[in-house]
């Protein structure tokens, strides 16, 4: 870190750029000006001393490990990135990084619930502030037309006002301004070196720094000044009052920090050059006196085991070095000469005096009042921590050298800063010029003489000391951690409400989910329904169509309301037959054929798969039948009307002639539907059969799980399972005789498919039916479903890939003329091979389903039987 300082100390102003997301203007732009230099000195200088101190701090509890220094280093890096940033996005990136590293550091002792909660609170508040800041910066970047800070001109207007307020809120969260300050006292759960570093000297200054560097940009925006001043004054007073009401030495300092940060924000947002200079002076002075105070408290904590000022006593004798540092730093904080805090505070009062009008009327009394309170809590802190008589002196452990080195070095800076005031002035002035060019005329004044400001200062110190002494004599009832509770309450509130909201939406009831989807569907039909026309509609294409439609809907209705399961299944079959009929009437024989066989298999599936269930559906108890009915009617009507509306004035016509020519000339088949399936849209078919193959795998997997469970229970499944009810010789013979015919039929459908209704699907389905029949009759069959579907998929895939070898598009089908006895001349080729794959998969699926379903059903029945017997036995 020193090395870094060395590098930048070389030139006063240097820039570096690293592009990240060019198009969004997000990159790493750095520019080290004098303000950045001042901050760098603080970050790296205090950082180094804190590191030294931490080695002493952690030697006791050994909880440091490598995690702590690594995180601390990560923080320093982020902080340096933040102060060097010349792009608001670079600044933002490191801003967030400091929030995250701070979270880790605050929660360092994460086995304590307190530390975890405090870390969470800090992250939530600064995280929320970060998001607000992001919004503000986005608007700012849009208004300013650049994200480079040094190139930004002043902005104004409504959008700029929004940006100003948002940015100020973001800064206020980071710099612990009222009412966002609540995270800072909690953050004292962090190890003390962390508090000294992050929560006094560096991270909390990020907000102040942001206000300082953006002040020139928002100089024309009144809201900027007033939100800043409001935040600042409220925090200044509330923080100081809070400090007077704490008994934990560290918390006194933390609340004091809130107060001091408030003063800084006030000064920087006032906008006058003098206030700006005073702000810079205080920025430096505060870092230099607050850090050693924290370190002293850390030392007290480590060596005595407590930080409660009511318990501590006599430390001024037992810890003389720490006491000395505390007095020096404390007096600097109180603004007493000859220490750096004095000229800084003097400058602040001067600045307030130099204002006019409302600004002065508000700023002067509050700044003076804040100063009085500051002196008061400083006095109380010193008396409380180090005072008390020696008789009941607190036991003190041995001194640790690294801790003393750090505290003494830091404490000395307050003195040196006063002694070498001109040097300090040049540092501060150079920094102040960066945010307000007119600040160059001011300097730190070691001894102003009897001027108004000085008189005020004297009164402030006297009043404050008396007040502090007075409070120190009385025991203070520590208020509940004001604000922190509310912040946690907010978080807990969200955490408590979240389950309720979630439980209301994600209630786990599938029927309601489906009803929601149907409702969404009904809503989606509205535009179509509103646009409906009826000119293109005919009542019916044929009487058969009308009759079939009516019968089908009636059958479906019957199926919905019939109480018997078998009855419902049979109506399903009836619906399927009507569908087939409709397809025939429409001129779709392939569809009709497929539909018929598919329906048969599904009905069988239902019977087999649900065979173990009670014959009747359980009595319906659902209370929302009315809603379901309404939804159904709306859905049915909506879907149909939408279709009518969509087809009213078509924007294009289907290329039927081109399809016909293509099928015959290129596809080499007369059955256009079949050619489409095996050639034009073979890719769809490939996908579809893979769907079937995958279903096969799924059904087999479930069946296997069930079988294995059965095996564990000692029940060996039979092939075919329950399906073999009572072996009947007649049926058996009939099926034996029918089988070969069915196979021949399948073969015919398969080969004829290209030119006549039929094809791979139909053939597969017929073969599958044979398998079902033989299974039911308990006859042997040689179909291994897994083998069938894998080989089928492979065949289809290979047919798809082969054309690539020849340089043709994949799934290109080759046509050849083959003379086959009985069938005559067949013009076909690779499409036929492809269709073979389809057939194999369909047979495999049906076999797997019948086997799987019956295995599962058998298991259900045996389970039920076992339960019955065990119940009977007991």
């Amino acid at each position: 870190m020193w090395a870094l300082t060395q590098i930048i100390a070389g030139g006063t102003e240097s820039t570096a750029q690293l592009l990240w997301v060019d198009a969004l203007d997000i990159g790493f732009e750095f520019r080290i000006d004098d303000l950045a230099l001042l901050m760098t000195l603080l970050v790296s200088g205090i950082g180094t001393l804190v590191f030294i101190n931490a080695t002493g701090y952690f030697s006791a509890d050994a909880g440091g490990g490598t995690r702590f220094p690594a995180t601390l280093l990560a923080f320093s890096t982020s902080m340096l990135g933040l102060v060097w940033a010349d792009s608001i996005w670079t600044l933002f990136i490191f801003w967030e990084a400091t929030s995250v590293t701070s979270f880790l550091l605050v929660g360092h002792k994460n086995t304590y619930a307190d530390a975890r909660n405090s870390a969470r609170r800090a992250l939530v508040i600064t995280g929320a502030g970060g998001l607000v800041l992001l919004a503000g910066l986005l608007i700012l970047a849009e208004q300013a037309g650049t994200s480079t800070i040094s190139e930004m001109g002043a902005v104004s207007g409504a959008a700029a006002t929004t940006a100003a307020v948002l940015v100020m809120i973001g800064a206020a969260t980071k710099s612990a301004q009222f009412p966002f300050h609540v995270w800072l006292p909690g953050a004292m759960a962090a190890p003390t070196p962390v508090s000294a570093y992050l929560h006094s000297a560096t991270m909390v200054k990020a907000g102040v720094l942001l206000v300082a560097i953006l002040s020139p940009v928002f100089t024309d925006v009144a809201a900027w000044k007033w939100t800043g001043v409001a935040f600042g004054i409220a925090s200044m007073l509330w923080g100081a009052i809070g400090a007077l009401r704490q008994n934990d030495a560290k918390l006194i300092l933390a609340w004091g920090t809130v107060s001091q940060l408030g003063l800084l924000i006030t000064l920087f947002s006032l906008g006058s050059a003098k206030a700006n200079f005073a702000g810079m002076s205080l920025l430096l002075a505060h870092a230099v006196f607050k850090a050693p105070l924290f370190l002293v408290v850390g030392e007290v904590d480590v060596r005595t085991g407590t930080r409660d000022i009511n318990e501590l006593s006599g430390l001024r004798r037992s810890m003389p070095i720490a006491f000395g540092v505390a007095v020096v730093a404390g007096l600097s904080m109180a603004g007493v000469p000859p220490l750096l805090g004095f000229p800084a505070k003097e400058a602040a009062i001067e600045a307030a005096l130099g204002l006019s009008g409302a600004d002065r009327a508000i700023a002067l009394p509050t700044i003076v009042g804040g100063a009085v309170l500051t002196v008061a809590y400083t006095t109380r802190f010193l008396i409380g921590t180090f005072g008390g008589s020696g008789s009941e002196a607190t036991e003190v452990a041995e001194r640790r050298l690294p801790m003393s080195i750090a505290t003494v070095s830091l404490g000395a800076l307050s003195v040196l800063g006063y002694v070498f005031a001109p040097a300090a002035t040049s540092l501060i002035r150079a920094a102040a010029i960066e945010s307000n060019a007119k600040s160059e005329v001011y300097e730190l004044i070691r001894w102003p003489g009897l001027k108004t400001a000085f008189v005020i200062s004297v009164i402030v110190v006297v009043l404050g000391a008396m007040l502090g002494w007075f409070v120190a004599q009385r025991s203070v009832r520590v208020p509940d951690t004001i604000g922190a509770e509310n912040a946690d309450g907010f978080v807990d509130g969200i955490l408590n409400w979240a389950p309720r909201i979630t439980a209301a939406i994600q209630h786990g009831s599938l029927p309601v989910y489906l009803a929601t989807m149907c409702l969404a569907m009904v809503v989606a039909t509205i535009p179509l329904v509103l646009d409906v026309e009826t000119g293109h509609l005919v009542r019916w294409d044929s009487a058969a169509q009308l009759a079939l439609s009516i019968i089908m809907v009636a059958a479906a209705l019957a199926g919905a309301f019939v109480g018997s399961r078998l009855g419902a299944t049979l109506t399903l079959g009836a619906v399927g037959i009507c569908m087939s009929g409709l397809f025939v009437v429409h001129g779709a024989p392939d569809l009709a054929l497929t539909q018929l066989v598919v329906e048969t298999v599904i009905v069988v599936g239902f019977v087999v798969g649900l065979g173990a269930l009670t014959a009747r559906f359980p009595e319906s108890t659902d209370s929302w039948r009315g809603i379901r009915l309404v939804l159904s009617l709306l859905g049915g009507a909506g879907v149909a009307i939408a279709l009518a509306s969509a087809g009213a004035t078509p924007a294009g016509s289907p290329p039927i002639d081109a399809l016909t020519n293509g099928a015959v000339d290129v596809g080499g088949g007369k059955n256009i539907v079949n050619v489409i399936l095996t050639d034009l849209r073979a890719l769809d078919t490939l996908g579809e059969v893979v769907v079937l193959a995958t279903v096969t795998a799924g059904v087999l997997a479930l069946a296997r799980v069930v079988r294995e469970e059965g095996r564990v229970d000692g029940v060996e499944p039979r092939p075919g399972g329950l399906m073999i009810s009572t072996p009947s010789p007649t049926v058996e013979t009939a099926i034996r005789i029918a089988s070969p015919f069915a196979v021949v039929l399948a073969a015919y459908l398969f080969f004829a498919g290209h030119n006549n209704p039929g094809g791979g699907f139909a053939a597969g389905l017929v073969l599958g039916s044979v398998v079902i029949l033989r299974t039911v009759a308990g006859l042997p069959r040689r179909t291994k479903p897994r083998r069938l579907v894998t080989v089928g998929t492979l065949i289809a895939a290979i047919v798809a890939l082969v054309p690539i070898v020849a340089g043709d598009p994949f799934l290109d089908m080759y046509v050849a003329s083959i003379d086959v006895p009985v069938f005559g001349k067949i013009k076909s080729g690779s499409a036929l091979v492809f269709d073979l794959g389809v057939t194999l998969i369909v047979v495999g699926l049906i076999t797997a389903s019948i086997d799987g379903l019956s295995a599962i059903t058998e298991r259900v029945v045996s389970e039920a039987r076992r339960t019955l017997t065990s119940e009977a036995a007991s």
């Binding site: 919905a560 619906v575 879907v639 059904v699 699907f761």
Partner: protein, 139 residues
């Protein structure tokens, strides 16, 4: 476009929706079969008026549009596969629960129960506070 077919589509869809929102798995599957039919009929209806079977050269009359038929066939087969899968899944459910009723999701119910418990606790705390206040007032 024929109103008879639209009526069939509407009827199947309505019954389908009614069935899939029941708590009974067999009925839900039945409902999906019906919805699948409705969608397939929709595709065919969208393809235009009926005609001769689309076999090239078989007839002089205009043929029915073959493309939606091919699409519908693919859709039928896919629904077929998925119906079988759902049957197997429903069967597996029976081996686990002994019935074919749809169960609510346990985690969701647990969460809801927690939320209710928390709300009840909050109410209790509030009541206790009120009692304390009344107590204080009376003393």
């Amino acid at each position: 476009m024929s109103v008879a077919l639209l009526f069939a589509i509407a009827g199947l869809t309505a019954v389908g929706i009614y069935l899939i929102t029941s708590r009974n798995l067999s009925r839900i599957i039945l409902g999906f079969v019906l919805l699948g039919h409705a969608a397939v009929l929709g595709l065919v209806t969208a393809g235009g008026p009926p005609g001769e079977a689309p076999i090239a050269g078989a007839s002089d009359q205009p043929i029915a549009n073959p493309l939606p038929q091919a699409l519908a066939l693919t859709a039928i087969v896919i629904s077929f596969g998925l119906t079988l899968f759902m049957l197997a899944l429903a069967g597996r459910q029976q081996t686990l629960s002994g019935s074919d009723l749809v169960e609510d999701d346990l985690e969701d119910r647990r969460l809801a129960a927690r939320a209710e418990r928390a709300a009840a606790l909050a109410d209790l705390a509030e009541q206790a506070e009120e009692r304390d206040e009344q107590h204080e007032e009376s003393t």
